[in-house]
Subunit: 342 residues, 2 copies
DNA sequence: AATCTCTATGCAAACGTTTGCACAAAAAGA
DNA sequence: TCTTTTTGTGCAAACGTTTGCATAGAGATT
């Protein structure tokens, strides 16, 4: 059970050459005799030689590990984004290290603290919903570690950013509801510090304004979280009020799904009595009855682009100066059964 | 923009001591004068000294990276398992490296091949559904890399295994259907090479046998994949046949959900005309109408235990001999609206 | 004063690989 | 035959840290 890996020296000794020669042979160095190369390669193959990555990383003082900090991966959104990131980075020879902040600012800070002690080639971060102080993010930059912020913006931080046009996604959704005759449109949103929530809320507000519909505070409900169970109370409070809305635009699919079930339980017909539109287009959203209308986001592409931008930054030369990228993806409105047809 | 990290030598030079002294001071070596320690620590703090992980890994010839190979993370199941693994490993100071096989044997082999070139402290693997040759897994063992197989079994491979009792989970579900009066129970399953599918199928078959119900080949349908869209055709073929079943037990929730929608479209009442039970208990399964009856698995715990077992193996001494762990988690039947009440 | 015992620190090797420079041997040119 | 060029290979340093061993200097014991 001994862990004796074959090293370059072993090969060198066996072949009566120096370690340098072996190293060069394996790299196909032009100054070497073909014969020597062949001999070395053959023996390396035979002994199942594998270069010691740790020695290499050490020598080159470079790490091939890239960290991804996400709030959660059990939901569709971030797991798809991570998959996109993964596909790009892995094919470029990098390893990804996943760090889950669990939507907690403290955990996120701890992660960043830990990462700063380890050598990391770059970091991709989607900040937690409870993060509104970005000092730790800025610290990453001060340590000169390439950084890309994706999906959720850190306002005031100058970094590469890959975002989604939440504003226009929400605007389109709400305007669609208006066009189909809805006049009393409620919005279930989430933590107000989160850029995505905020932009969707703005889109909602502006769509109402543009169409001369009144903005009612009681139609804007803050959910306490992002998962299904957080959608129940807000919906109940809306549907049991004395001014029942005729549409609900939810900040994500989970809340929309939850709203849908709650509405059904209260004997509302969907979409006749109440229209519902979500955000994200999670794969199972189509399978509800009626199928959920929602706003699709190119998550996977967002992950891929974020990874590509990070790679670009990592590979840029010391002297090249940093050109910050700011990319915003367009969403697409997907009309299914929970909203009326035009 | 230079990347000059402070090293132990820098501190040594500034303090006119040797590097060894600095190293020892930082480790609180007893032979050192308190005064020296304080001076070193203070300067280290001031210069923001961070030990070079790559140098340490190299010196100690140990890696703190653990690889997880999973078929996919966009679904609830594996992302929750990964979260469990992550929570344990991160708190023990390890980094996790996620590798996604995309349910492809080739990709999985490629991943293993790549990992064997990198130094890795251990590997957790849930094999892909198209993997039925386990040579690459055995190769991991031959390289003496600690290995834990989880969720999906690799039969014939002697390794730590953390599995779920799919057989009894399925058995219970089917027996429940029988008890509620179902007599014509169909099963939508998946790739037959996958241990989980196979055990669920066995549970299904044995439950029928035990209750003296006939086993009909046409009631056992193989879906081409695990996602929603793969459930449509199997369900249609069942419900449009001349011997329509009164219950469907699906190998996972996604297929069950899809079966449910298809049944609804064909105007079957659930559960009056047809009962449906899934497997996994994904979070959104409750939110369908009717809410999906299903078999819950302790995914998160499974992830955690797998990680703990792997850690135990990694930390075991060279001379201690390997005690293989074989752990099987119990499932729980969750009865909701898609099956009749007892 | 000579020897012994601590105490605190330094020296140097080791981990595996790459690479600039040196240099021997062979080949080419004079 | 002597010099110059080319070809192929080796030497040694470097990357940052730890650690066994050596040792200088101080204090204690004779």
């Amino acid at each position: 059970m001994k862990r004796t890996r074959v090293t370059i020296k072993d090969i060198a000794k066996e072949l009566n050459v120096s370690a340098s020669t072996v190293s060069r042979a394996l790299q196909d160095h032009p100054a070497l005799k073909q014969q020597t190369k062949d001999a070395v390669r053959e023996l390396a193959e035979k002994l199942n030689y594998r270069p010691n990555t740790m020695a290499l990383n050490f020598l080159k003082q470079t790490s091939t590990t890239i960290a991804i900090i996400v709030p959660d991966i059990t939901g569709y959104f971030f797991s798809a984004a991570v998959t996109g990131i993964q596909d790009i980075l892995v094919s470029s020879g990098y390893n990804i290290m996943i760090c889950i902040s669990n939507e907690s600012y403290e955990e996120e800070s701890r992660i960043v603290e830990k990462l700063s002690k380890v050598q990391i080639a770059g970091i991709l971060v989607a900040p937690s919903s409870t993060t509104f102080n970005f000092d730790h993010i800025k610290k990453i930059q001060r340590n000169n570690i390439p950084l890309v912020i994706f999906d959720r913006d850190c306002e005031g931080v100058d970094a590469h950013k890959v975002l989604v046009d939440d504003y226009s996604g929400a605007f389109e959704a709400v305007e669609y509801l208006i066009k189909t005759g809805c006049k009393k449109i409620a919005h279930i949103t989430g933590a107000s510090d989160l850029s995505t929530n905020n932009h969707r809320l703005q889109g909602y507000l502006d769509a109402l304004k543009k169409n001369n519909l009144p903005i009612l505070d009681k139609y804007i409900i803050y959910a306490q979280g992002f998962t299904h169970e957080h959608g129940i109370k807000p919906t109940e409070s809306l549907l049991k009020s004395n001014n029942v809305p005729d549409a609900i635009f939810a900040v994500n699919d989970r809340l929309a799904v939850s709203a849908m079930r709650t509405a059904k339980k209260l004997n509302f017909r969907i979409p006749e009595d109440i229209s519902i539109i979500g955000f994200d287009d999670e794969p199972h959203s189509t399978y509800f009855t009626p199928a959920l209308s929602t706003v699709w986001q190119p998550v996977y592409s967002m992950g891929m682009l974020s990874a590509r931008i990070l790679l670009g930054d990592i590979k840029r030369k010391e002297d090249e100066n940093l050109q910050l990228r700011y990319e915003v993806f367009k969403t697409e409105l997907v009309i299914r059964g929970t909203s009326k047809k035009l």
